[in-house]
C-alpha cells in the first residue's frame, strides 16, 4: 500500500513575538541570516506514516498539538524542524467555514474553495451543479454566507470536499453540526469514501468515532507522540490516562464531594477497584459494588446504569425499584452490590455508572463511573442479546 503522508522528526515552534521590536528583529534575522528565532515549541519530533486506505485518528488533550500537526500536514504551516511529504490531494474540513468569506454568496465561495483545491475554471464549472446539489441548501446558495446557520456552512464545506473526493480527508468533529438528514448523508458518503480506498485523518474527542472510523491512532501529549499504533490499544491507554488524571483531580476536592448529602466513596466492578477499564468475557457475570457516604445518616437509594461508550443508555435500575435497601456498615457508610448474571451485553466498550439518590429516589447527588470492555467474538448486532428463538413460523403462537 502506498504511503500518503510521511512526517519525520516534525516539529513546530512559534516565535516569541510579544513586543513589536521582536517582529522587526525576526524580519531582520529571516532576511539576512536565514535563521529562525528560537521560539516556543508546540510540536516536536513527530514521526508518523499514513498509508492509503489506513485511516488515522488523532487524540490528545486540548493544546496537545493536534491542530498544529494537521496544519503542518495540509501545508498551512511550515515546519520548524523535520519534514512532511504528502503524495496526493488533501481535502481539509477543519474549522467551521474556514476559507469561506462571510460577505460572499455560497456559490461564490464554492467557486473559491474549488479553486483553492486546485480545480481549473472548466472543471470547476462542471462540478458546480453537483456541489450545489449535495449541499442542498436551496435558495440560500445565492445568499451571503454570513446569513447561513452553522449547519448550512458545514453542508457547503462538506459538499465541496464530497464532490472533489480528495485522496486524504482531514477533518474533526465539525460534521456533528449538521442536522439528522445531512449527518446521515455525510456518514453514508464517508463510508463510501472509506470503502472506495479513501483515507481519513480524524481528530476527535469521541473514542467511539475514532474506533469506528480509524485503524490506527496517534496520541499526542504536550506536542509529542505519546503512543501510536492500533486504534484500540491507543484509545484504551489514552482513556486510562485520562481517568487517572481526573481521579487525581477529584482526590483534591474530595472534601467538597463529602459536603453533599450523598456521595459515592468507591465502586468495584467484578471485585476490581481502580480506574482502569475492566475487561470481562462475553457471558461472564457482572457485579457492581458501591460504597456510599450519607452525610445525615439517611439510607440512600443507589442507582446503577450501563451505557455504551458513546453515552447511549443501555439499562438503568435503582435499588428502590426492586425494594432493596443498602446496608449500613460499621463505619457508617452504606454498601450494596448488584449482580447481573446473564447481562447479555454484546462485545464492545461500555461504561457503568453509580449514582446515590435521596431516600425518595428523586434527586441524583453524585456520579462515579468505570469503563468495561466486553470481549467476545459474537457477530450479533446492537447492544444487548435479547432472549430469542428461531422457528419455521409454521406453528401457531
Amino acid at each position: 500500500m502506498s504511503i500518503l503522508v510521511r512526517t519525520s522528526g516534525l516539529g513546530k515552534s512559534y516565535p516569541k513575538a510579544f513586543r513589536n521590536s521582536d517582529r522587526l528583529r525576526a524580519l531582520w534575522r529571516l532576511l539576512f541570516t536565514g535563521r529562525e528565532a528560537d521560539g516556543i515549541a508546540v510540536l516536536s519530533d513527530v514521526t508518523l506514516e499514513v498509508r492509503r486506505g489506513e485511516s488515522l485518528g488523532l487524540i490528545g488533550a486540548n493544546g496537545a498539538g493536534k491542530s498544529t500537526l494537521l496544519k503542518l500536514i495540509t501545508g498551512v504551516l511550515t515546519p520548524t524542524t523535520g519534514s512532511v511529504a504528502v503524495h496526493g490531494e488533501i481535502g481539509a474540513l477543519l474549522e467551521l467555514g474556514a476559507g469561506f468569506h462571510p460577505e460572499h454568496t455560497g456559490r461564490e465561495n464554492i467557486l473559491m474553495s474549488a479553486a483553492l483545491h486546485g480545480l481549473s475554471g472548466a472543471q470547476l464549472r462542471a462540478k458546480l451543479p453537483q456541489i450545489i446539489e449535495f449541499a442542498d441548501i436551496g435558495r440560500y446558495i445565492d445568499e451571503p454566507v454570513k446569513h447561513y446557520s452553522s449547519g448550512m456552512v458545514v453542508r457547503l464545506g462538506f459538499a465541496v470536499v464530497a464532490v472533489l473526493k480528495p485522496d486524504l480527508l482531514i477533518t474533526d468533529e465539525v460534521l456533528a453540526v449538521g442536522d439528522e438528514a445531512f449527518q446521515k448523508k455525510c456518514i453514508a458518503w464517508m463510508q463510501d469514501y472509506l470503502d472506495g480506498g479513501g483515507t481519513l485523518i480524524l481528530v476527535s474527542h469521541s473514542m467511539y468515532h475514532i474506533q469506528k472510523l480509524c485503524r490506527h491512532a496517534c496520541w499526542l501529549r504536550d506536542g509529542r507522540v505519546e503512543m501510536s499504533g492500533d486504534v484500540f490499544d491507543v484509545t484504551q491507554a489514552y482513556l486510562a490516562f485520562q481517568e487517572r488524571k481526573s481521579a487525581a483531580d477529584s482526590a483534591t476536592d474530595h472534601a467538597r464531594i463529602h459536603d453533599t448529602e450523598f456521595s459515592v466513596l468507591d465502586m468495584r466492578v467484578n471485585g476490581r477497584e481502580g480506574e482502569l477499564p475492566v475487561s470481562i468475557r462475553d457471558g461472564e457475570a457482572l457485579r457492581v459494588h458501591a460504597r456510599v457516604h450519607s452525610r445525615d445518616g439517611r439510607t440512600p437509594v443507589v442507582a446503577v446504569g450501563i451505557a455504551r461508550a458513546d453515552g447511549t443508555p443501555v439499562y438503568g435500575v435503582g435499588s428502590d425499584m426492586d425494594g432493596f435497601e443498602p446496608k449500613r456498615g460499621p463505619d457508617g457508610d452504606f454498601t450494596c452490590e448488584v449482580a447481573c448474571d446473564g447481562h447479555g451485553l454484546l462485545p464492545g466498550s461500555y461504561s457503568i455508572r453509580v449514582h446515590p439518590m435521596d431516600p425518595e429516589g428523586v434527586r441524583i447527588f453524585d456520579t462515579m463511573d468505570r469503563s468495561i470492555t466486553v470481549r467476545g467474538n459474537s457477530r450479533e448486532f446492537g447492544l444487548v442479546r435479547l432472549p430469542h428463538r428461531w422457528s419455521s413460523g409454521g406453528e401457531s403462537p
Binding site: P15, A26, A115, L119, S120
Partner: protein
C-alpha cells in the same frame, strides 16, 4: 494548485469587493476617472492656468491625464497589495495556498480598473485635444503597462511580505508614495525644473513611464530605446528580487499574522 484559476477567482472577488454595495458597480471604474478629470480641469486649467511649455505642446489636461492614470494604477496596486497578506490572515491560517497569488490578484485588480479608466479617459480627451493619438498612440502605450505591472508587482511582493512583520509600512507608504509621483514629470514637464536637477529625475523609476506615456499618446518628447531597455531591465530585476524576498519570508507569515 491551479494558480491561474485561483488568481482569476481572487481577482473577481477583489473587483466585486471594491464595488459591492454601490449602485453603479463596475461603472465606477469609468465614472471615477471622468469625475477626477473634470476636477483637474477646473483646478489646473481654469484656476491655475497651467500650461505645458513648448510651441506645439498638448493641452495641460491631456498632459496630466495620460501620466496620472498609469501612476494611479501603479500606486493603487502597491498600496492595496501591500495589505494583501495581512488582510487575508484568516484564509492563510486555514487554507494552504500560494500566498503570492493574493498579492498578484490585488495588483491585477488595480491594473484592470485603471487601465480601463485610462482607455476611457484617452478616448474622451481625443475629442478635445488634437494631440491625442488614439490608434497610433494609445495602443502602443498600453504595452507600457506590462513593465509597469511587473514593477508594481515586484514592489508589492516586497512590501506585502514586510508588512506582515512591520505593520507601520503601509502608513509610511501611504505618505511617501505620493512623493515619488511629485518627483516624476507627471504634473510638470522636465524642462521647467532647474537644469542641474533635471538628470536626477531619471533615477525615479516612474519618470520613464510618465515621459513615455507623454511621448506615445501625445507625441510630446521622444521615446528613447535605451530608456525602454533600462525600464525593462529594472522591472525584471525588481520583480525577481521581490519574488525572491517574498518566497524567503512567506514560510513564516503564519507565525506573525
Amino acid at each position: 494548485m491551479n494558480a491561474v484559476a485561483l488568481t482569476a477567482e481572487f481577482v473577481v472577488r477583489e473587483l466585486r469587493g471594491r464595488f459591492s454595495g454601490s449602485f453603479a458597480g463596475i461603472l465606477w471604474a469609468v465614472f471615477q476617472p471622468a469625475l477626477q478629470l473634470a476636477i483637474f480641469a477646473f483646478i489646473f486649467v481654469k484656476v491655475f492656468h497651467a500650461k505645458v511649455p513648448g510651441a506645439d505642446a498638448p493641452g495641460y489636461l491631456s498632459f496630466l491625464a495620460v501620466a496620472l492614470w498609469p501612476w494611479t494604477a501603479f500606486s493603487d496596486a502597491i498600496l492595496n497589495a501591500t495589505k494583501a497578506v495581512q488582510d487575508n490572515a484568516a484564509l492563510i491560517g486555514k487554507v494552504a495556498l500560494p500566498r503570492s497569488v493574493l498579492v498578484l490578484s490585488r495588483v491585477c485588480a488595480s491594473f484592470a480598473i485603471h487601465v480601463l479608466g485610462f482607455v476611457v479617459i484617452v478616448c474622451a480627451l481625443s475629442f478635445f485635444d488634437s494631440h491625442v493619438r488614439l490608434l497610433t498612440g494609445m495602443l502602443p502605450a498600453l504595452l507600457l503597462y506590462i513593465p509597469l505591472f511587473a514593477l508594481a508587482l515586484g514592489f508589492s511582493l516586497v512590501f506585502a511580505a514586510m508588512q506582515v512583520f512591520v505593520r507601520d509600512l503601509i502608513q509610511l507608504l501611504a505618505q511617501t508614495l505620493p512623493l515619488l509621483m511629485y518627483c516624476a514629470p507627471v504634473f510638470y514637464d522636465r524642462s521647467i525644473i532647474p537644469v542641474a536637477v533635471q538628470p536626477w529625475l531619471s533615477l525615479n523609476p516612474f519618470t520613464f513611464y510618465a515621459e513615455a506615456f507623454h511621448a506615445l499618446v501625445l507625441g510630446h518628447g521622444a521615446l528613447a530605446m535605451t530608456g525602454v531597455f533600462w525600464a525593462l531591465v529594472v522591472a525584471t530585476l525588481v520583480l525577481l528580487a521581490g519574488y525572491g524576498l517574498f518566497r524567503r519570508l512567506d514560510r513564516h507569515f503564519e507565525d506573525f499574522l
